[in-house]
């Protein structure tokens, strides 16, 4: 059984904030923009090892629900694994996509392949933002500018130009196909 601490719906402690560095990598300093929004303050709350992004108003409204009955709150951004690593989930896509600093566009032919959970190959790469470093968190888009998911750049932009078509250029992390493929694990 987990510790009592993990059952509380609470604000993230400093250490956990630090591990959220993975997605702050993707969007950089824009994380502050997520917190202070024009329509009210938002915050992150931890509930059963999952991080939820909720507005303060919503939080107040949901305060009286017993913890065992509470299933989800606002938007789930990701979860902490057993070893306390933070894993970003695709449900955060809508929020992170506008703030993404590094983007990758995928050709229509390889869209489906990415949505099935495969990595992006050089042959499927449409565009990539300049100056993407290697192992940088990126947001993957389709050519119609629909966000498809998250990834990690396997090669920097410069290297991408040089590699052969079968090399992986973006590691898959999360994609919208998971809504259909792994609906059960979203909660």
């Amino acid at each position: 059984m987990g510790t009592h601490r993990s059952e509380q719906c609470r604000a993230l402690t400093a250490s956990e904030d630090g591990s959220d560095v993975t997605f702050s990598c993707s969007i950089g300093e824009n994380i502050q923009l997520l917190v202070d929004r024009p329509d009210g303050t938002y915050c992150f709350r931890l509930h059963r090892d999952r991080v939820y992004y909720v507005s303060e108003k919503l939080l107040k409204g949901a305060a009286s629900i017993p913890r065992d009955s509470l299933v989800a709150l606002g938007t789930c951004f990701g979860k902490f694994t057993k070893t306390q690593k933070f894993r970003l989930s695709v449900t955060a896509l809508d929020f992170l996509a506008p703030y993404a600093k590094y983007k990758v566009w995928v050709k229509p032919g390889s869209e489906q392949s990415f949505l099935y959970g495969n990595h992006v190959l050089k042959s499927g790469l449409g565009r990539i933002t300049e100056n993407t470093a290697q192992y940088q968190g990126v947001v993957v888009y389709s050519m119609a500018d629909i966000p498809l998911g998250f990834g990690v750049a396997a090669k920097s932009t410069q290297d991408c130009r040089k590699v052969d078509p079968m090399a992986i250029v973006v590691f898959h992390q999360a994609d919208v196909g998971e809504y259909v493929r792994s609906e059960d694990t979203l909660t």
Binding site: A62, S64, I65, D68, G74, S142, V180
Partner: protein, 681 residues
């Protein structure tokens, strides 16, 4: 897409490959056909050829009389497979018999009479042999007339002569039919059917298919032996279907068409048995349906349940617009249309080359697969921005997300469901569609408002027996019985009371509860709403849906409040959507009315109801209450007093006319609205 004919395209000229394309049959064939210039004559049409052949044979017949007919016939006709042009101007002698190897057994066609019996010489000349025809031809050689019509293959142009045996049989059949139909019209006109007519018809019947027979014949209830026989054998669905139809006809015009000595009950019982067998329903369910629907409508309802409803989707206006979505889906190869005038977000899918539940637009959360009837309760609820809404039974989340999109992600929605497994799909859908103002919880709906109360609006899509969605789940036809329906009704009543208690009647914009089920039984719909009307300070208001059938105000031996007319029923056979029932209630007081037997002090609106189940003293629930109409409970002469106490929210409590010894009004000082309880007479 194929290449379209483009008349403006230029013809290719020159020695290249493309210039060598075909230019049409006539032109190409000219390369193979022998030149026409031989005889210097025009090419003849087929009619002309036939006439020429006739002339030839006429000449040959005249020159070769009697016994020489056969050999003459054999030699008749030149090489008829060959060029038609040669027929003209040839020697009559040359026309007898074929020139090639088949001359021994091939003979060209003879006169009319012989041809009528023969199947076809033309077939033979093409290489097929018809044994029968040859025999017949030989018999009738002598009948050959001088006048013959033949085309170049030896076939006659006359219709009669070309008949195959099967065609002849068909002609005969047609003649018989005509005779019979004259008899049939007599039958229909004469309402009473005597055995005289029947025997007269029976002779014809034997020759006819059993099918035609049963439509015309009088409908007789099967005898006991017949019933026994039928139960022993596997059911013949066709016979049963015919019997259902005939039975319905009799029942429509019972006085005239009935059999003497048989009651209506017997006909109805037979009809019920037949329908249960044909459509695979349990007897209980069919009895119930027969109470709800008149007979012709019942058939439509049963038929509609065999067929699935069209697939519909709802545009997610948080992320896209309906016309953009329609355009994107059409580009993927989906055939769709807007749902109707009543919906601005619905689309109906006719067919699709891609799976609708897996397009990138679906994954991006641009639309939700949802039945058309599920859009209606949310439209009736009409949630406003910045309200607090409770969705008590939200799985799989379609209605919740529609509420969220109408509220534009403001305010708060509490999406609750008692089934943790199904909540997963709720969370998935809410995230996919980009809903941010929802809190998902897993409580029993009856625990509200203890968990949380004071909502502006509540939507209760109660768990039900599902008799409206039989087309989605045919097992419902057989596995529902009376116990199930009553159990559902009991749960629904409890949930509805909790829902009403969770609403804040004093909310500026709200105070509404929408109760809906996907069932068409009266026990789960009107009865539950009527119960709530008696038990709580609510009244029915118009749903805002201008189509749909009105709910029942009376049913069998029950009488409901007249305001039940504002509820709406939807059926698969009339509206082409799943069966549904929707009622919109407005709460006008947070007080919970007490019954006579209840000794406890009246409780606050937010606390759960502790009232007993007896409906002894229902208080004035509706401003327009005519309690005398409700025969069951309102026997006490209190309506006048109740009207005065009709619950205007800000009114001070009136003193009781008859003081109640065991009530202490002082116990509830903190209640703003106070309902005086009338006790004892």
């Amino acid at each position: 897409m194929g290449r379209k004919l483009d008349p403006s395209k230029k013809e290719k000229r020159g020695p290249g490959r493309k210039a060598r394309k075909q230019r049409g049959a006539e032109v190409e064939l000219a390369r193979f056909l022998p030149p026409e210039a031989e005889s210097g004559r025009k090419k003849l049409s087929s009619h002309a050829r036939r006439r020429a052949a006739k002339r030839r044979l006429g000449a040959a017949g005249r020159t070769a009389p009697g016994g020489g007919r056969r050999p003459a016939a054999k030699e008749q006709g030149d090489s008829q497979e060959g060029s038609p042009i040669k027929a003209v101007g040839q020697d009559p002698q040359r026309q007898s018999g074929f020139k090639d190897d088949n001359a021994k057994w091939l003979t060209p066609a003879k006169g009319k009479k012989s041809l009528s019996k023969r199947t076809s010489v033309e077939l033979s000349s093409n290489g097929e042999v018809e044994e029968d025809s040859w025999e017949m031809e030989e018999e009738e050689q002598e009948d050959g007339s001088s006048e013959e019509l033949m085309d170049d293959y030896g076939a006659s142009s006359s219709d009669e002569e070309e008949l195959l045996p099967i065609e002849k049989a068909a002609l005969k059949q047609k003649a018989d039919d005509r005779d019979l139909s004259e008899d049939d019209s007599e039958e229909d006109e004469v309402a009473e059917e005597t055995s005289r007519q029947k025997t007269g018809q029976k002779e014809k019947e034997d020759a006819e298919l059993q099918l035609n027979l049963e439509i015309d014949e009088e409908f007789k209830l099967p005898t006991d032996e017949q019933i026994e026989k039928e139960t022993a054998e596997p059911p013949d669905l066709h016979v049963i279907h015919q019997r259902i139809k005939s039975n319905m006809e009799v029942l429509q015009d019972f006085g005239v068409k009935r059999e003497e000595g048989r009651t209506r009950q017997e006909y109805l019982a037979l009809l019920r048995r037949d329908m249960a067998a044909y459509y695979s329903y349990s007897d209980f369910l069919l009895k119930m349906l027969m109470d709800i629907f008149p007979l012709p409508e019942l058939i439509n309802f049963l038929e509609a349940n065999e067929v699935p409803r069209p697939v519909t989707i709802r545009t997610n206006t948080l992320k896209t617009r309906r016309r953009d979505l329609a355009q994107a889906l059409i580009n993927r190869g989906v055939n769709l249309d807007p749902l109707g005038k009543w919906s601005k977000t619905g689309l109906v899918i006719y067919d699709s080359s891609v799976p609708i539940g897996a397009t990138p637009e679906y994954l991006a959360g641009h639309y939700m697969l949802q039945g058309a009837s599920s859009l209606l309760p949310v439209m009736a609820l009409a949630p406003q921005e910045n309200e607090r809404i409770l969705d008590m039974c939200c799985a799989p989340g379609g209605k919740t997300s529609y509420i969220a999109q109408l509220m534009k992600n403001t305010g708060m929605i509490l999406a609750n469901d008692s089934n943790a497994e199904r909540l997963r799909s709720v969370v998935g859908n809410l995230h996919r569609l980009g809903v941010t103002n929802a809190v998902v919880s897993n409580c029993d709906g009856r625990q509200f408002p203890k968990v949380l109360g004071g909502f502006d609006r509540v939507l209760l899509d109660a768990p039900c027996s599902g008799t409206g969605v039989i087309s989605k789940d045919p097992a419902i036809k057989t596995n529902k019985d009376e116990k199930d329906i009553l159990r559902c009704a009991h749960l629904q009543k409890e949930l509805l009371l909790s829902a009403i208690d969770s609403v804040n009647a004093t909310s500026e914009t709200g105070g509404y509860v929408v109760y809906c089920t996907c069932s068409i039984t009266v026990e789960e719909n009107e009865w539950v709403v009527d119960y709530a009307l008696k038990k709580r300070n609510v009244r029915l208001v118009a749903t805002g849906l201008d189509f749909g059938k009105e709910g029942f105000t009376r049913f069998k031996d029950r009488r409901f409040h007249p305001s039940l007319k504002s509820t709406r029923r939807f059926y698969p056979h009339t509206h082409n959507m799943d069966g549904f029932f929707i009622a919109k209630l407005k709460k006008f007081s947070n007080a919970i009315p007490k019954t006579q037997k209840d000794e406890e002090p009246a409780v606050e609106a937010a606390k759960p109801s502790t009232g007993p189940e007896t409906v002894m003293e229902p208080q004035a629930k509706k401003k327009k209450l005519e309690s005398s109409k409700i025969a069951q409970e309102q026997k006490k002469p209190q309506p006048a007093l109740k009207k005065r106490h009709s619950l205007q929210e800000q009114r001070r409590p009136l003193k009781a006319v008859r003081p109640s010894p065991h009530k202490s009004y002082a116990q509830v000082p903190n209640r703003k609205k106070h309902k005086v309880k009338q006790n004892g007479q």
